[in-house]
Point group: C2
Chain length 346, copies 2
Amino acid sequence: MTVSNPPIHQQWIYARQPDAVVGPEHYELRSQPLSFALSSGEVLVAARYISVDPYMRINQSRRPTYNAEPHPLGVVQSAGVVGEVLAARDAPFAPGDWVEGLLGWQTHARVHHSVLRKLDPTLAPVSTALGVLGMPGRTAWFGLTESGRPHAGEVVVVSGAAGAVGSLVAQFARRHGCRVLGIAGGADKCAWLTGTLGLDWAIDYRAHADADSLSRAIRATTGGVDVYFDNVGGWISDAVIPQINRRARIVICGSISQYSGGLDAPELGPRFLHHLLYQRATIQGMLARDYLHRMDEMLRVVGPWVQRGEIVFEETCVDGFEQLPATLNRLFTGEHRGKLLVRVAL
Amino acid sequence: MTVSNPPIHQQWIYARQPDAVVGPEHYELRSQPLSFALSSGEVLVAARYISVDPYMRINQSRRPTYNAEPHPLGVVQSAGVVGEVLAARDAPFAPGDWVEGLLGWQTHARVHHSVLRKLDPTLAPVSTALGVLGMPGRTAWFGLTESGRPHAGEVVVVSGAAGAVGSLVAQFARRHGCRVLGIAGGADKCAWLTGTLGLDWAIDYRAHADADSLSRAIRATTGGVDVYFDNVGGWISDAVIPQINRRARIVICGSISQYSGGLDAPELGPRFLHHLLYQRATIQGMLARDYLHRMDEMLRVVGPWVQRGEIVFEETCVDGFEQLPATLNRLFTGEHRGKLLVRVAL
């Protein structure tokens, strides 16, 4: 294969540990000519959609988190990517195939074919492999079904309900016959939750001065909480937990309110474990990686819902590879709904 | 039945809600002649052993706890009692029978026979019906087996390890093949935990200035925690939780450090739910009442151990009905080991 003007291979290098909110100042852009050299079994992929996810900031904590060591400095930021195969050598892929894999923040990746998942672009937009039919969908589905164990008629409360995972959890819970309260920041998000997603209720936490006020609103709205699917933590959870019903299940899927420093130096909050005692309730932490080998179960159920247009999976798509660090920052400061993505021009 | 000098029926009335530590100032002693009048199905019991338990203070909180309403004022303090039957009318009990029931802080009780459990004094000392073969034993057994789910080779950490429940949990965990760390206050209790109860390790939390120091000691001692059976809460738990292993089970059996006011106005502590996320761990609150109907399962296993002298079940027995409020106070301020009881002279 000969190329007269070889394309440029760009990479965002994770260069400095953040102390608070992560942003462009923690990354460096590296450029080099793209190499088309492949070993046997390798595939060259051109990135088209690159993910930013809250878990990335966890792995930048200075303390042990879900990995014993933080994300190493000086290497490409790890991330999920959807791309097109440019070339393959002794591998079950052909140029033009759509694939998904953990390829990182780079315009191109040369990887062994075994780390790629082939996508069928006729089933759903390929970007959904980073959202409803990818890691966030898997998180929502198994977090709700395996840890939340919802039953028809129960009350499910979702924090971060307008986010990539929360908006799916809320809809999945509705399909279980549950009454669903979404908690989100801002009247627009709340109108979207009830109007577009069809939730029973939404509460704008920004309309409440403190946890006690929010807690009273949750009680008045729901009458009590059977499943709390938590993406946010902090004072939102301080408000929800006192309102749990007997044998409530609390799913800790994320604590995004704590990611910008609170994992290294935990903030203080009111003790609450006595509520677990009174109600014989359960808290369970979950990670999407534990369900990677069960992806087919989620796709078998959720795939048809997506194809039939029964699930709202909003994507906020930012154009431009150079926008990646700023877009990651927006996860913690911005106003997006659903899944936040960066699109890379071919 | 005629009695020339009718005995006195004494009752401790719960008279005032405590704001902090409960004690004699919250109770009033009431005396009246004992009535021997019985309706059909009723039994008259003379109390011999009366229990004081930490849960009593929970139920004095001003907020909803495991009951919607706090313990009512102006009535006999609710409590487990072991006593002798004085008289029975159309009931399957005879004078001299030993029984156990929730008869409250009073020297005598007239109750329907259905609320009494008959005891066999040849199997074990009757006082054990308030300890190892009663509510504390049931709490320890089902809390550990159903919520803790221990496996051989795992590390079990017990807070309040020298207490009525903790000392049993620690021994039950040893019998599951676990390595057991007991946390208790004072060198004497710790020497008892390792020397008499045979635990692998004991740590005196009073020897540590803060949770970080205790936490490092737990890590250095155990290498990581698979099951944390918590009777204490507060800063002891702040020290244990960061040391949990993957898929750890945390059993919330009690939070005695918080009972003297912290249930009404929660104290602040470091947020910790991110550790649950990292380790995909579970917290479960449990109450002994949920296992009341499964008492026979516990007795079938633990009864023979007690009969064969294989379980240490220390009792601290205070003589004198008049000592009840002060003995309850000792639960929160004192230095007893094992089960704290008041013995009533006939």
